[in-house]
Amino acid sequence: MSLPRTEETAQALRRSVARQFGRSLHIRTLDTGSCAACEQEIRLLAAPHYDLHRLGFFFTPAPRHADLLMATGPMIRAFDIAARKTYEAMPGPKLVVATGACALGGVYQPDAFTHGSVGDTLPVDVWIPGCPPSPLALLQGLLVAVDRLAEKVRDLTFIQEGGPR
């Protein structure tokens, strides 16, 4: 069921990064109230084990240089201004990646404290589930972000015949 991941597809992804963002997609992260676990996983993306630079991704502290915004947390209302400013500070074309269950509306319900998810404040392009999403999941999410073709979740059914393994 899962898409065959071969060197070719990986090459295709790199090409698409190159095509859209000149071989360098710069990522700015935005913590809108996460529990700090998502942040740790994102930091590990740059660690030797995952080394996202090999795929043409880079972290940048300045939203001015960022093409992609990784938002974690349930978007706390007290953070609206900062979130808006950060998004507006980014040049187009820009992508927003909602990262982690909080950002996808998993952990918090909308209330006086939080919006409950990133979706209704920022125009999200890619949704990465997980609590927290492992660096592998994050990598896949980033690849989805730069390459809309890598669309496999549609095929997943989460139905397992044949009982428990």
């Binding site: 899962s2 991941r5 071969t6 060197e7 597809t9 990986a10 992804l13 030797p48 084990h49 995952y50 080394d51 090999r54 269950a101 996808l104 509306g105 998993g106 952990v107 319900q109 979706g119 999200v124 392009d125 890619v126 949704w127 990465i128 589930p129 997980g130 609590c131 492992s134 592998l136 999941a137 990598l139 896949q140 999410g141 690849l143 989805v144 972000a145 809309r148 669309e151 496999k152 979740v153 549609r154 997943l156 059914t157 989460f158 139905i159 397992q160 015949e161 009982g163 428990p164 393994r165």
Partner: protein, 113 residues
């Protein structure tokens, strides 16, 4: 610095081949549940929906809706109904549309469980 250089050489490469090749460590990650419609009944579905701490499960008629995005893979549903719920082993879940993350699970189980 030479010390670090030598360390690096001795350490060798640890970088994953993903996405070129699958990564072994993925096997141990917590993953969202997969359901056996045959073992799912309405009231089991309701129990699971009540157990789920992150509102990932909702029952509508004979369909159990599962929001893989809201799921934290905490495993509570799996523990509650080992027969009906298993780990899916899926971790590549990123989607460009939240609708793609919501799944319809038909309830095919007979009677109460």
């Amino acid at each position: 610095m030479p010390l670090w250089f030598l360390r690096g050489l001795r350490r060798g490469v640890v970088t994953t081949r993903y996405p070129g090749q699958p990564d072994a460590s993925a096997a141990q990650l917590p993953t969202p549940p997969a359901f056996r419609p045959a073992a799912l009944t309405r009231d089991l579905a309701d129990r699971l929906a009540a157990i789920c701490p992150s509102w990932a499960l909702t029952r509508n008629g004979d369909v159990l809706f599962f929001d893989a995005g809201a799921c934290t893979a905490c495993g509570r549903c799996r523990e509650a109904a080992p027969g009906a719920v298993t780990a899916s082993g899926e971790f590549e879940l990123a989607a460009t549309d939240p609708a793609h993350l919501v799944k319809r699970i038909p309830l095919l189980g007979e009677g109460g469980s």
